[in-house]
């Protein structure tokens, strides 16, 4: 097996590169820790000078006694235990890869685990594929800082599975084989359709993968203090290893293990939170409303909108909508992208080819829905629990976005039992976050490689004439290249704002992929022209709208905002008694604003301000995608496509003549 040797050698090279980067973590770790350590005493002081009287009293009163001890709040994971847990996860998953590699002999094994995954296993794997670190850490963080809105945000991620369950899962299992291209090319001209389907798959996967890789790098740097570069390369090497050697079998089991770990962690932590609340949900919510820290936090949040709230009213406001999600159209647009996009995500679609029958595909979605939904319900407890026990103020000191809330909560809940349990629990959750990243990125790499190797190489370039050995070789090579590209993009995008890329991935999947999948399966007149128009217009519209949306940086808008800050700060300074300077935080903000105020020029697209005011393009791009697909098909009718509809329709409903995933 010379091929295997080549991969072993290549992986070694990557590992050595990782080790080389690892040699310089000390420099890189320091700046990472710095932002968390900025003096937290400042906010109390200016509040006394400017804010209205009732708030000022509360604001000064609360931080004062708390100030000395947790002044420099930081999340400190016990390095030995954490690295030990990471090693266990790497060890177990590597064992899985070795075992999986032995079973991966044909293309069907590589892309679809030979169709030998059961419905229950696939359900766990879908959950593992879907729930990213953003779900795990981000949503509970949002809830801990903004209450109700964080919970409302999580709902769409589950409701999305109704579309998957009712519309795509079973037909795709019956009519497809390995990729999106397989489904779409059934009654169309295979070559152009496969090529476009592959491009769209690679685009969606790349956007999602970039966001995941950058998130992974930053998270690992924060959790165990290794540098961003080391984290990216470490995660990248493991991801490439899983996919190249173990293909779908290894990816599936990594996802199942991750989902199991994630659910255990969430369940255990929720149990501890509810234990503290005496298993009384009503009392739990009353504690939130009555917490002076949450009341104070909410008062400050609504003050930005010119609303004055205090005491119990402010606490109650935490359980009401509108603290975070302020643009309803944007929410509806994101909701559309989730509800339709999840069903068009190539890495999710691909999971349905791993089960033997439509019944198993159905069962797997239902199981996944219970796991994912259950997780989001538990997340509420974690988010609100973090708000009660750590206070929003404490959480933002560690990370302004609240991403560390769950981890901090784990440490505190554990430490309340015994300090070592706090360390263990924190390390365990760090390991869960690590496993989460690995599972999601592996699924993405596999989906992108399948599109390139199976659709472009085997079916477009080689006309479908490639033997099993060549197909598997192509799949492995492509996975290696895709993974390596993922690492390079991750390294290059360190300083970029990638938060909008996840929403973009869902928007492209919803506007490009989903319309053509649904029309292929359910509309007689659909054809090649329809697929190509739909994919092109949906994808370009989503990307184009994001390029001119508020997601981009507009120097003039930044400058205008900064000028306001400068004016406010100077006013505040003037109000101070003579000889007294601004607080450290305010002084920093003023210095930064003064620099920003000088910014001039245009965005990447040469715009002074956004042309499209929503951050999520779905509300426009999804109808455009559907419209283009329908008009394209009507403009270029094709008799063969129409005649073959009966075949597609009977197949997708009955599973007759199903491409047997088991071919050996």
């Amino acid at each position: 097996m010379t091929m295997k040797k080549i991969f072993v050698a290549a992986s070694l090279v990557l590992s050595v590169a990782a080790a080389a980067f690892a040699a310089e973590p000390t420099k890189a770790a320091a700046p990472g820790a710095a932002p968390a350590a900025t003096a937290p005493a400042a906010p109390g002081a200016p509040a006394a000078a400017t804010a209205p009287a009732p708030n000022a009293a509360a604001a000064v009163a609360t931080p004062a006694p708390a100030a000395p001890a947790p002044a420099k709040r930081e999340l400190k994971a016990n390095k030995t235990i954490t690295i030990g847990m990471f090693a266990i996860i790497i060890g177990i998953t590597m064992g899985v890869v070795v075992w999986a590699a032995k079973q991966t002999k044909t293309a069907s094994d590589f892309y679809a685990a030979g169709g030998g995954i059961t419905g229950t296993q696939n359900g766990w794997a879908i959950a593992g594929d879907y729930m990213s670190a953003a779900s795990f850490l981000g949503i509970s963080g949002l809830i801990s800082l903004y209450g109700y809105d964080g919970f409302m945000y999580s709902v769409g991620w589950l409701v999305a599975y109704i579309t998957v369950l009712l519309i795509v899962a079973e037909p795709c299992r019956n009519a497809g084989k390995y990729t999106l291209g397989d489904i779409l090319s059934f009654r169309t001209s295979p070559k152009p359709v496969r090529a476009f389907a592959a491009i769209s798959t690679v685009a969606v996967s790349t956007f999602y993968l970039t966001a995941q890789m950058v998130g992974a790098g930053k998270l690992m740097a924060l959790l165990i203090g290794i540098s961003y570069k080391t984290s990216i390369i470490g995660v990248g090497v493991l991801m490439v290893g899983y996919v190249v050697f173990g293909g779908m079998v290894a990816t599936t089991w990594v996802q199942i293990i991750k989902a199991g770990l994630l659910m255990s962690g969430a369940f255990l932590l929720s149990f501890l939170v509810m234990l503290k609340a005496g298993f009384n949900p009503i009392g739990f919510f009353s504690t939130i409303v009555a917490s002076p820290d949450i009341q104070d936090h909410v008062s400050k949040l609504v003050l930005k909108d010119g609303v004055i709230l205090s005491g119990i009213d402010a606490g109650q406001r935490f359980l009401e909508p509108g603290l975070y999600l302020k643009n309803p159209l944007d929410q509806i647009s994101l909701g559309m992208a989730l509800v339709l996009g999840t069903a068009g995500m190539p890495h999710i679609l691909m999971r349905f080819f791993t089960v033997p029958t439509a019944q198993a595909a159905r069962k797997s979605v239902i199981i996944a829905m219970f796991i994912i939904g259950g997780f989001y319900v538990l997340t509420t407890l974690l988010g609100f629990g973090a708000a009660i026990h750590l206070t929003p103020q404490g959480i933002t000191q560690v990370d302004p976005g609240g991403n560390m809330a769950t981890l901090m909560l784990a440490q505190q809940m554990g430490a309340d039992i015994a300090p070592i349990i706090g360390d263990l629990f924190l390390a365990f959750l760090c390991a869960v976050a690590f496993a989460t990243i690995l599972a999601v990125v592996s699924g993405l790499v596999l989906a992108a490689s399948a599109a390139i190797a199976h659709d472009i190489y085997v079916n477009v370039i080689k006309d479908g004439h490639a033997d099993q050995h060549e197909q598997v070789f192509a799949a492995r090579t492509t996975s290696f290249v895709v993974g390596a590209c993922g690492i390079v993009i991750g390294l290059a995008a360190e300083k970029q704002n990638v938060a909008h890329l996840v929403a973009l991935a869902f928007a492209v999947a919803a506007s490009g992929n989903l319309p053509v999948v649904v029309l292929s399966l359910f509309w007689r007149k659909f054809n090649t022209a329809g697929v190509i128009c739909g994919l092109l217009v949906g994808t370009i519209a989503s990307i184009g709208l994001v390029m001119v949306s508020p997601n981009m940086t507009y120097p003039k808008v930044v400058a205008a905002g900064a000028k306001k800050v400068v004016a406010a700060m100077e006013k505040k300074q003037a109000a101070l008694p003579a000889g007294q300077a601004l607080g450290e935080k305010d002084a920093k903000a003023l210095a930064k604003a003064k620099v920003d105020a000088l910014k001039d020029g245009t965005s990447m697209m040469g715009l002074e301000k956004p042309l499209f005011t929503l951050k999520n393009p779905g509300i426009i791009s999804i109808p455009l995608g559907f419209l283009a697909a329908i008009l394209g098909a009507l403009a270029f009718p094709n008799r063969r496509s129409e005649e073959m509809f009966d075949e597609v329709y009977v197949r997708q409903n009955t599973g007759l003549g199903m491409a047997k995933a088991v071919e050996h």
Partner: protein, 124 residues
């Protein structure tokens, strides 16, 4: 490669590995599509799937729309400090699970049975 159950099946990959006879079998797709059993299956499925899909979408979008445009209703306290908005958001999970379980029940009972009957009839 899922193409035509017989048309493109004689390529190297499949013949070498040997496919189960199921996949090589020729079907008269047009006739099956007109089979009364299939028509019944198709009608039942379409009504059920799209009907419940639209219901779930409407129910879901009531959440962001309601939160934005009728915040007053969302603020009404129902149980202690727990308000309608919270219960409505939580109900989304139970409604989704409910639809999933109901679909699974109907599919196992009706759709799968019709499909089996259709296949049995074809294999006579």
């Amino acid at each position: 490669m899922t193409k035509g159950a017989g048309r493109r099946h004689h390529n190297s990959e499949l013949t070498k590995k040997g496919v189960t006879t199921m996949a090589e079998r020729q079907y008269d797709w047009k006739a099956i599509a007109k089979n009364p059993k299939f028509v019944e299956l198709h009608h039942k499925k379409t009504a059920f799937l799209f009907g419940w899909w639209i219901f779930s979408c409407v129910y879901y979008f009531l959440l962001p729309i309601g939160a934005a445009y009728t915040p007053g209703i969302f603020k009404v306290k129902m149980i202690g400090v727990i308000n309608f908005g919270y219960i409505f958001a939580l109900s989304q999970f139970f409604v989704s699970w409910g639809i999933a379980l109901y679909y699974s029940h109907v599919a196992n009972k009706d759709f799968d049975r019709l499909t089996r009957e259709l296949i049995d009839e074809l294999h006579l």
